[in-house]
């Protein structure tokens, strides 16, 4: 790889201060550090450093998303051909490529818009390009309905990155999960494009294909027409990445084995959701375990609630945060017929309260310290 290194070294001066391409400095260093781990050495403090960095951490999350993404792409084709009644004569690869043809443009739009803004802001503010959007950029299309128009995805992404992240100072400083913020923006700006029965199945004609998701059936008090097995394996209509609980659990396994996501949060979201679903079982008419397989619950629990930046930071806080997300998601689903999907709002709500939860936990540590001091003073 020496020729590449030499080439970069030769190009570098052009991008430095006073160089011809100074305006692309952030983009250059972004790509350079992507290709090569920099040669900077420690000065002051610890002389050796752990081999881990944010790029490696983020790439693990992207890898964990891959099974759900691949299945989501396949399921787009499956749902389409199933709805038009042509499933029997369509091959696996036809289903997959049909889905890819629908989903790939969404992924590209999300990355181009998001990274474009990220690069521009990094250049204006003079800091480095952060890795955070590698994950957000993939999450955004995965939590959208397949029929979402590309320009709306672009607008939602721009909103999430600028208002949700950059104005707070970029990756690590944001209060809400950027991907969910994109979905929330979409949800409240264009409600007809992300709810109802007409957006979940890809259609090639002007007429939308109408099919209710399990969540919508539950909200309307209709009997479920999907089996639990279909909901677990993912053969149901829904947002692109959220349908297959099995594939999401594969991702969860990777995140837990590598310790990238907090098991405390993941576990407590499922526990909170399950307990609340048990309580609501008489009203919803849906078994508690089925609730956890529906809609975006599993996807949110594994990939969204565990976002380290927007979740609780303290270990005790993580349990409380997770339990409340799970419980809140089911409450919203069962009590508010206007929002069949409660997961998004539950996580955003708890993102807002995570600092408060942490404040209480840290405050108890402070009180402990004060009490100890007083006990000594009394002696």
């Amino acid at each position: 790889m020496n020729f590449l290194r030499n080439y970069l070294d030769k190009q570098k001066p052009k991008f430095e201060k006073g160089g011809k391409l100074e305006k692309l400095h952030s983009v250059f260093t972004g790509f350079e550090s992507f290709l090569f781990v920099p040669n900077t050495t420690t000065s002051g403090g610890a002389h050796i450093r752990d081999a881990v960095d944010l790029k490696r951490t983020m790439i693990i999350v992207v890898l964990a998303l891959v099974p759900a993404l691949l299945f989501g792409i396949y399921n787009v084709g499956y749902q389409h051909f199933n709805a038009i009644g042509a499933l029997a004569e369509t091959s696996f690869w036809q289903l997959f490529f049909y889905g890819l043809w629908k989903v790939l443009p969404m992924i590209i739009v999300s990355y181009v818009v998001g990274l474009g803004i990220e690069f521009a802001v990094a250049q204006i503010k003079g800091h480095e390009i952060n890795e955070g959007f590698l994950v957000s950029g993939l999450l955004i299309p995965m939590i959208m309905p397949v029929e979402a128009p590309l320009w709306m995805i672009a607008l939602s992404t721009a909103f999430a990155v600028i208002i949700g992240k950059e104005i707070f100072g970029g990756t690590g400083m944001n209060i809400w999960n950027p991907a969910l913020l994109a979905r929330a923006f979409f949800f409240f700006s264009y409600p007809s494009m992300i709810s109802g029965d007409k957006v979940w199945i890809a259609s090639d004609t002007a007429d939308a294909i109408s099919q209710a998701t399990p969540l919508a059936q539950m909200a309307l008090g209709q009997p479920l027409t999907y089996s639990t097995a279909d909901m677990f394996w993912g053969f149901i209509p829904g947002s692109i990445g959220e349908t297959s609980v099995f594939c999401i659990l594969l991702g969860a396994l990777l995140l837990l084995l590598t310790n990238v996501a907090s098991w405390r949060i993941m576990l407590s979201v499922f526990v909170g959701g399950f307990l609340m679903a048990l309580i609501f079982q008489p009203i919803s008419g849906v078994a508690a375990y089925q609730q956890l397989c529906m809609g975006g619950f599993a996807f949110g629990a594994v990939f969204m609630a565990t976002d380290p930046v927007t979740s609780s930071q303290t270990n005790t806080g993580k349990y409380i945060y997770g339990l409340l997300i799970g419980a809140m998601a089911v409450i919203i689903r069962c009590i508010n017929p206007g929002y069949p999907e409660g997961m998004m709002l539950a996580i955003l709500l708890m993102n807002t309260f995570a600092p408060l939860i942490d404040w209480c936990v840290v405050q108890s540590n402070i009180k402990r310290r004060l009490k100890r001091a007083k006990a000594v003073a009394r002696l």
Binding site: N39, G132, V362, A373
Partner: protein, 451 residues
């Protein structure tokens, strides 16, 4: 045997280049230096000029705000150089050593018969006082204060750290005198902290007037700050004094022999050392005489006075730090690595489970000084807590330091930590945050504001 305090949190970083347990007798000492930069928040006042003749125990510089605290030369000879840095900041006072050390005589004395004031005067005059440090803040103790306790850690769990039992096994008498001296200073027994697996032949088990405490677990179990936190945590307004175990012997010799005899044994270790071993030398010794002929010349090297987590980088002709008992030499890491964040990384060490190193916990590594990434904001949570065995929220404390909120720093426990206690947090940090520097700045701000 008294109770063992078992610490679970922490991390042992296994490095190549562990020292063989043999002590190399002292070579010729050519020069020696004292560095005011080794002492936190010290404003030195220089008391000598180049060419002055000094005896071991003569003053080189004093503390400007506490002129009674003196820093004396460990060797006799002539002042060779006074090195200054930017804005004439005093960096080093170098003494060219005589062939044989001439000592200034402070007179032998029996510690147990001296009054506390007399002991303090003697410690201050001879220049061993700076060996007594206080917590909070990890600074030289104030002679006018009385600490609530004195703590001495008799072991070091840092990477490639020296084995004090080996170094001190024939110095029981000096250690005992040193301990007795510290007992007089605090008015009670000294807390001596030992590893749980201390052999029964250990010199430390023969000492009197000590309360023994045992610790087990990974680094930083040997850090005296961590031990204090678990034994007798520091509250606002309290002070605890700490002394390095080898310095206890130097204090002892001051009374037993009546002179400032700062000879010590250090460990020379690290993957770039040909024959890692223990060497007899003296406080502030020249690095060159210690490393001569014993370094591999394969790559660029970094010489560290101290261990790889908390030590200070020194040049090949620099000098051993005042509180250091170790020199570590590791390769520099100023190289690029193609897609380094994506490769499996079998030779890399990580506390995370993102590299295969967690599968082979017994493997030893050659680690260089590369950052392995770029500085980022705090992103990953729960990472510091795994290597920080204290009931303190490290990230919240650091954020209080960053925002210079002294009330919050106090509430979150800044009195209980020294930068060395959080060195592992800095090592494991995904975002490459300069933890020790931030904490250091916080401590210095705290000192300035509360004064």
């Amino acid at each position: 045997m008294s109770k063992v305090i078992k610490l679970k949190k922490g991390l042992d970083i296994k490095l190549n280049g562990e020292a063989e347990k043999v002590v190399q007798p002292a070579g010729k000492i050519t020069s020696c230096a004292l560095k005011p930069t080794d002492f936190r928040a010290l404003t030195p006042k220089l008391m000598v000029k180049v060419g002055d003749e000094v005896k071991a125990g003569d003053v080189l510089f004093t503390d400007k705000t506490h002129p009674e605290i003196k820093f004396t030369t460990p060797v006799s000879g002539s002042i060779e150089a006074v090195n200054r840095g930017e804005r004439r900041k005093l960096l080093e006072v170098v003494v060219k050593a005589d062939a044989e050390i001439q000592y200034r005589d402070f007179g032998k004395a029996d510690v147990n018969k001296l009054k506390r004031e007399e002991i303090i005067t003697r410690l201050l005059e001879s220049g061993v006082w700076p060996m007594i440090k206080q917590r909070p803040y990890d600074i030289i103790a104030h002679p006018e204060n009385t600490p609530k306790a004195v703590f001495v850690s008799a072991f070091d769990t840092a990477p490639l750290a020296p084995d004090y039992d080996l170094i001190l096994n024939n110095q029981e008498k000096d250690l005992q005198t040193g301990i007795d001296c510290l007992c007089k200073l605090c008015g009670k027994n000294v807390n001596l902290n030992l590893p749980a697996d201390t052999p029964s032949s250990s010199v430390f088990l023969k000492l009197q007037h000590v309360d023994l405490n045992y610790f087990s677990g990974p680094h930083p179990a040997g850090n005296v700050g961590v031990q204090i936190h678990h034994l007798n945590p520091i509250n606002k307004g309290e002070q605890v004094w700490v002394v390095n175990i080898q310095d206890v012997a130097i204090i002892g010799r001051l009374f037993n022999e009546g002179r400032f005899d700062a000879r010590k044994t250090i460990v020379l270790a690290g993957s770039e050392v040909s024959k890692p071993r223990y060497e007899q030398t003296i406080l502030g010794a020249s690095i060159q005489t210690l490393t001569a002929g014993n370094l591999k010349n394969a790559t660029e090297q970094r010489i560290i006075s101290g261990n790889v987590l908390t030590g200070t980088q020194v040049t090949a002709n620099g000098y051993l730090g005042y509180y250091d008992n170790q020199i570590t030499v590791i390769p520099e890491g100023n190289h690029y690595e193609f897609l380094g964040w994506a490769t499996p990384g079998f030779n890399k060490f990580s506390a995370s489970k993102l590299f295969p190193s967690f599968l082979c916990p017994q493997k030893h590594y050659t680690l260089d000084t590369n950052y392995h990434g770029e500085r980022r904001a705090f992103v990953v949570s729960g990472q510091y807590e795994k290597v920080f065995p204290m009931d303190i929220y490290p990230v919240y404390l650091l954020k209080a330091c960053l925002t210079q909120d002294i009330d919050r720093m106090e509430q979150l426990g800044i009195y209980e930590v020294a930068p060395e206690d959080m060195a592992l947090c800095e090592f494991v940090c995904t975002s490459k945050i300069p933890v020790q520097q931030i904490l250091s700045n916080g401590i210095e701000l705290m000192m300035k504001e509360t004064n």
